[in-house]
Amino acid sequence: MTVQLLPTAPAEPAVPRARLGNALASEWTKIRSVQSTLWTLIAMFALILGIGLLADSYEYGRSDGSAYLGNGLGGFIVGQIPVVALGVLVVTSEYGTGMIRTTLTAFPRRESLLAAKALVFFSLAFVLGTAATGLQVLGGMVILSGQGIDPTGGQILLTVLGGGLYLALIGLFALSVGTLLRHSAGAISVMLGLLLLPFILALFLPSDWHEVLLTYSPINMSASLYGDGAGTIGGWGLLGVLAIGTAVVLTAAFTALRRRDV
C-alpha cells in the first residue's frame, strides 16, 4: 500500500538554488574589477622580485661563497605588506563603501560568501605569490650560479612553494582580521603590528619569552623559508603553525559574520 505523503508541488518556475559556485564567480569578478587589486599585486611583484634581484645583482662578482638563496628575504618581508593590505581590503572595502549590504541582500548565506572570498583570495595570492618567489629564486640562480652555495631541490621547494603558501596564509589571516574589525585602516594597522612587533619586542624581553616570540614571529617564519631562520621547528613546521593560527582567526571571522548585524 502506498500513501502519497507529499502533494505535488505547485507549478512554480524552478529557481536554481544559490550555491558556493555562484559566490566564487562573483568574488572573482569583484577582485579583478577594482584597481586596488592590480596595484597591490604589482607592488608585491615589484618588492619581492625587484628587491630580491637587486640584491642578487649586487652580489654578482662580490660573493663570499655563502648561500645566496637568502638574498630574496628582504624583498619577501616587505612584499608581504601589499598582500596583507589586499587581504584586508577584500572584506573591509565592502564595509567601507556599504557594498556589504548590497552583497548580503543578494546572497544572504554569509558563511558561503566568506568562504568564497577566502578561496578566491587564497588562490590568487598563492598562485601569484609562488610566481613571484619562483621568479626571484630562478633569477638568483641565473645570476649567481656557481658563485656561492647553490640551493638544494628541497630548499628551492620550501622557498618557492612555501613562500607562496606563506603569502596566501598571511593574506588570509589579514582577510579574517578585516572581517572581524570591518575597518580598513584598523585591520591593516593590526596586521602590520603582528608582522613587525613580535620580532622587535623579542629584542627587549627576557630570554625565555624572547625565544618564543622570535621563533614564531612572521619575520622569523619568512627567514626560515629562505634557509635563514632561528629555532628548531623549521620552515614547513612554522608554516603549519601559521596555518593553525590562520584557521583559528578565520573561524572567529565566520562566527562573527554569521552572528553580527551588518
Binding site: 536554481p16 544559490a18 562573483s26 569583484k30 574589477s33 557594498m99 552583497t103 543578494a106 546572497f107
Partner: protein
C-alpha cells in the same frame, strides 16, 4: 508578500523597532512612512536579514530572508544608492550581483538598458551623480526579476524626470502583481505613488490603511464660501446675510468658521448642498470653491502625536481631521 509579527529591535537601551506587525501585499504599492529616525530603515534591514530582530519574526514569501533559496530571484532591494564600490564600473557591479544569483550576463545588459545606464555601463560608478547612483541601485534590485521589491527613499536626489520615472516604474511593477514596498519620509510623495500606507513613528505602528482612507480621514476637504455682502476687506457683515447663511449651514450639519477676510470655511457639506441652501435663503455667493487640507499637515500631526502621546497610538483614525474647523 512580506509579513512581520511583533518585530522588535533594540540596540542596547534604545528600541528602534517596537512590536511592529504588518503585512505588505502583492499587486499594490505599499508606502512605508515615518519621520527620519522612526525605524523605517531598521525595519527594512530586518526584513532583508541584515540585522536580526531582538524578538518577533519577519518573512518574505513565507520564509525568513536568510533561508530563501535564491534571494535576488525573490526579493530585490534598494537600500542605499551609495552602497557600491566606487572603483567598480556599473557593469561589473551588476555582474558580480548577477553571478550571486546565477543570472546570465545578458540580464545585466537588460537592466542597464531598463534604467537608462547603458551608455555609462563601463564607467567607474564612483563618478556617478546621485540620480545615476539611484538608477544603478534600482537596476540591481530588478536583476533577478523578483516578486518582492523594496525601495528605501528611491526618489532621493532624482530630478523631476527621474522622479516621474521611478513612480511609474513602481506602479508598473505593482500592476504586474509584484509586492512593492517603498519607504519615504514625504507624505506628498506617497500620496501620489502608494495604494496603501504603513505609518510608523518611534518604531511603533501608527496607521495601516489605504492611501484613499488616509486622505479621507486625515485630510477631509472643505469649501470656501464668500457671500456678496461679506466681502469687505475688514470682514464686516453689514446686512447679516453671512451670519444667516452660516446659521443655515450649521443647521444642515456643516462645520463653519469665519475666516479673517470674511469668507466662510465650511466642512462636512458637499458644494452642491451649500449652493442649494444659499439659493433657498436668497444669499448671493461670490465664491464657492473646493479645498483640500494638506496631507503633509495631517501626516505631521499623526506622527508628531505619536512622539508625545504614545498611549493613543492605536486610535489614529479617531484623530480630529486636520483642516476642518471645529
Amino acid at each position: 508578500m512580506i509579513e512581520a509579527h511583533g518585530l522588535t529591535k533594540k540596540y542596547g537601551e534604545k528600541t528602534a523597532v517596537d512590536d511592529l506587525s504588518f503585512t505588505v501585499r502583492p499587486g499594490q504599492v505599499t508606502g512605508f512612512l515615518g519621520p527620519n529616525g522612526s525605524g523605517k530603515s531598521t525595519t527594512m534591514r530586518l526584513v532583508l536579514g541584515l540585522d536580526s530582530p531582538t524578538s518577533g519574526t519577519v518573512t518574505v514569501d513565507g520564509l525568513p530572508f536568510r533561508r530563501l533559496p535564491n534571494a535576488p530571484r525573490t526579493v530585490g532591494a534598494l537600500l542605499d544608492a551609495k552602497a557600491v564600490h566606487g572603483g567598480r564600473s556599473a557593469y561589473s557591479h551588476l555582474l558580480c550581483l548577477a553571478q550571486l544569483a546565477g543570472l546570465p550576463r545578458r540580464r545585466v545588459d537588460e537592466v542597464l538598458a531598463l534604467v537608462g545606464l547603458s551608455e555609462v555601463a563601463h564607467r567607474r560608478s564612483g563618478g556617478f551623480s546621485l540620480g545615476m547612483g539611484q538608477r544603478l541601485g534600482i537596476a540591481a534590485a530588478l536583476l533577478g526579476d523578483p516578486k518582492v521589491l523594496m525601495f528605501d527613499e528611491p526618489v532621493n536626489g532624482l530630478d523631476p524626470e527621474g522622479i516621474h520615472w521611478v513612480r511609474q516604474l513602481m506602479r508598473d511593477l505593482a500592476a504586474e502583481g509584484r509586492t512593492v514596498f517603498v519607504s519615504s519620509h514625504l507624505m506628498s510623495e506617497m500620496a501620489v505613488t502608494a495604494d496603501h500606507l504603513i505609518v510608523i513613528g518611534r518604531g511603533r505602528l501608527l496607521a495601516d490603511l489605504s492611501t484613499r482612507a488616509f486622505i479621507d480621514r486625515h485630510a477631509a476637504g472643505f469649501a470656501r464660501v464668500r457671500t456678496a455682502d461679506g466681502t469687505d476687506p475688514d470682514g464686516a457683515d453689514p446686512d447679516g446675510r453671512r451670519e444667516l447663511l452660516a446659521g443655515v449651514l450649521r443647521k444642515a450639519g456643516g462645520e463653519v468658521t469665519v475666516e479673517a477676510d470674511g469668507a466662510l470655511r465650511v466642512g462636512g457639506l458637499p458644494l452642491a448642498r451649500i449652493s442649494d441652501l444659499a439659493w433657498e435663503e436668497k444669499v448671493r455667493l461670490y465664491e464657492l470653491s473646493p479645498h483640500q487640507a494638506s496631507l503633509e499637515e495631517a501626516y505631521m500631526q499623526l506622527t508628531h502625536g505619536s512622539v508625545e502621546y504614545r498611549s493613543v497610538r492605536n486610535e489614529p483614525a479617531d484623530d480630529e481631521p486636520v483642516g476642518v474647523a471645529a
